[in-house]
Subunit: 462 residues, 2 copies
């Protein structure tokens, strides 16, 4: 609980209307997409880096946790106040400060919604590729904290690849400018990339210099339906062998296909699977690449191919892909969503291995995701009211992680560790590496006030 | 000086034939491209991460500096033993461990020469883009330490963008695996990118997992000659406005053009300037892009355009570009080479500003480099025997740095800080940021044994 004096101090820093202690707000800001609430003691909405600095300095002198938060769409609990304290919402720092078309850069505040920024960039003929599924709600600041990816990452990379520099308030309250506003820069340690993906534990991003690319001239979207997952996976292997790097190559397994078909009714086969493919570039290059991919799909038994003829058709094709996550709740009310990655040549082994785990544990597990870069969303479905199922679901997650690591993979491609994967951190990282990371945390946040209880397993907390 | 016991210990760790204390070797390993020798007390050539670990552990208990070194081609003194100690050469750890064409990755030891790795990747139809001018000698380990770039960075990015994971021996001797072997990964802090560009001060890279891309189908090279630098620069601005991202866009000023012409005799105009442009991709896309660039060059007064018709012709065109650096010594025996970066739209302001500085200081300054990403190599020419010129040259460097920062730029795009730019660090970075970097250094290297005396200005050394 915060002392009354601290509450007054927060009001002084941010202004009366930019701090809340109301029960309603505390409930609202206790959630993210993991659906495990931890209420904070206060929510503050700073409007400048100076205010963020003052809040963090106060937190150091009064020793309360500060938890940075974008839109709260995170999938690993990164923005949850697990030890109480003050949620620092960036939603009132949401200006697009400038877009520089000549230098292919933009400067934005952290609270800008990713989709809105993309729309603005498009007006200049520019493209900001990162496209997490939350992009219509999630913020640039949150995307930076988690190093968000998305379907386009296979060709365009992830958030890390588009951050040139940052204004960051360090946990001690110091305001620093990391990186550059230029295309290149190697002066000093790369604190920019250290901040990206650090899940709000090393600093609060208050401004970001982002890299943009010219909008591709043309893009073509095709959905290829296959009688079985194995056929779809062979087609993916074929695309890989042909050294094609499409702008999107999504795979959807049978469980997901069935669910989404029951949900959106677009005539997908009950036991089939599908690929959603996009190619972009010059018109000729994009169409040529797509022709090659379609040929590979046909050679691997595609039973149907839907090519989008206009923007509406593209949207319709994405509708099925985007609806999967929601449609899965038709199977079971509970879902554990893990975003594992394996070397992309091993996706078939991953998915068939997961089928075995599902059978063994008596569960339904739905897999879909970014086949082009080996990043698969594994959704373990269960009913929380059924104790056996809930326990089996937890065990299944460990099984999946063991399989992923055996295949040379990683436990998270885009969601981060947060609290949900913290207990498993030691499965992937050796203790000396964890210790090195913790020493960096300690160096930058000696009092441990910024987003405590995240990433590192509780038993090892220092 | 090292104790005899330490010398014996080093022999025990690496083997008699992998340690040298001979005067000849100490002289050889006291140099890099900055031409300011600092002899070490020993040179050791470990062959495994275990040996590297033992050397670093010994260094901690005996408190001697260890200086990692690739091929010693660095341009900022990163591999110089400025405080004596043991040079740790990676040249006997030079295996290409594997290339995985399906997953577009490779695993290499740090001593692999970049060019040799590229040749090996090409056999698989794969492409490793970073191309520092030293690429035929410099090593992957050195390239990672400095985050090397090159002409292709404008389209393909720098070394940082191709490192997925590392085996690193931390300064304390702990061996850790950072990052992933997959396309994506966000588990824990991004120590991979923290290591890239840390100039051998935070760890010794003993293995690297690199990302590869499919070799582009086609590439076209054109040299466009202009009557003046201003015309060449207008053409660059035109390419930028047209949102073309070529695979190379090099600009060469009048001083450099004159020098290189006297050196290679290919008929370049005495007061002119030239652009070297490459486009790649599908054949149609590359040729289309180059046509657009040629049109822009003609519209901006290009007096001549040489298009390479075969591999030999490409090599010939690059010959002039690659010969600039050496040819400059025709003007003066001394050269200070700074690799500043400005937002690419401000290159004309940079180069004309530098002309003013040259006139003011009574010096010749040659500028050439990567116009596409704003990274210009500024070569301040002087005669070391002429005291006035040497002093003016030093002052001119400060003038250039002030101009660069005024234009929103950075002091180094590829060379790093090392010792040559350390005194200027505070011009670009604020003290709180420098302090944060030093706290990370201290956290990972509490005894300060790894590559001391680099990056941070001496007066601030903690």
């Amino acid at each position: 609980m915060l002392r009354d004096g601290v509450k007054e101090e927060l009001k002084k820093i941010a202004g009366e209307t930019n701090v809340s202690f109301s029960k309603e707000d505390l409930i609202c800001y206790s959630y993210d997409a993991t659906n495990s609430p931890y209420p904070p003691d206060a929510v503050v909405f700073p409007r400048s880096s100076a205010e963020v600095s003052s809040i963090l300095k106060l937190a150091n002198s009064e020793r309360f946790p500060v938890i940075p938060r974008g839109a709260g769409t995170g999938a690993s609990g990164g923005s949850l106040p697990v030890e109480g304290g003050v949620v620092l919402s960036t939603e009132r720092m949401n200006a697009i400060i400038g877009i520089d078309a000549d230098n292919l850069t933009a400067v934005v505040e952290p609270g800008v919604v990713t989709w809105e920024f993309q729309q603005e960039a498009e007006k200049f003929g520019l493209f900001y590729p990162p496209d997490p599924s939350s992009l219509k709600f999630s913020t640039i600041g949150g995307n930076i904290a988690e190093c968000a990816g998305g379907p386009r990452a296979v060709k365009y990379g992830v958030t890390r690849d588009y951050v040139l520099g940052l204004e960051v308030v360090l946990p001690t309250g110091e305001i620093v400018d990391t990186g550059v506003v230029t295309a290149k820069g190697v002066v000093g340690y790369d604190l920019t990339r250290l901040m990206v993906g650090s899940e709000g534990t090393l600093g609060v991003v208050t401004k970001a210099v982002l890299r943009l690319v010219p909008m591709p001239e043309y893009s073509v979207t095709v959905q290829a339906v296959f009688p079985s997952l194995r056929d779809a996976a062979s087609a993916v292997a074929g695309v890989i062998k042909a050294m094609i790097i499409p702008s999107t190559l999504e795979i959807v397994d049978s469980v997901s296909t069935r669910c989404v078909e029951e949900y959106v009714r677009i005539g997908l086969p009950k036991d089939g699977a599908f690929l959603l493919m996009e190619a972009d570039g010059t018109k000729a290059a994009a169409l040529g690449e797509m022709e090659r991919m379609k040929r590979i799909c046909l050679d691997n038994g595609a039973s149907r191919m839907d090519e989008a003829v206009d923007k509406k058709a593209v949207k319709d094709l994405w509708k099925a892909r985007r609806a999967i996550s929601a449609s899965l709740y038709r199977i079971r009310p509970g879902k554990i969503n893990e975003d594992v990655v394996v070397p992309r040549s091993r996706i078939v082994e991953l998915i068939t291995g997961i089928e075995t785990i599902a059978r063994k544990r008596g569960l339904l597990i739905a897999c879909f995701g970014h086949a082009g870069d080996g990043n698969v969303h594994v959704n373990v479905m269960y009913d929380g009211k059924d104790e056996r199922e809930a326990a089996e679901a937890k065990t299944a997650v460990t099984d999946v992680f063991e399989l992923v690591l055996k295949l040379g993979g990683t436990l998270s491609g885009e969601h981060g560790v947060g609290i949900t994967k913290a207990p498993y951190l030691g499965m992937e990282l050796g203790q000396p590496l964890i210790d090195a990371m913790k020493s960096i945390k300690k160096a930058l946040d000696p009092n441990g006030i910024l987003n405590p209880g995240k990433i590192f397993p509780r038993s090892h907390a220092g």
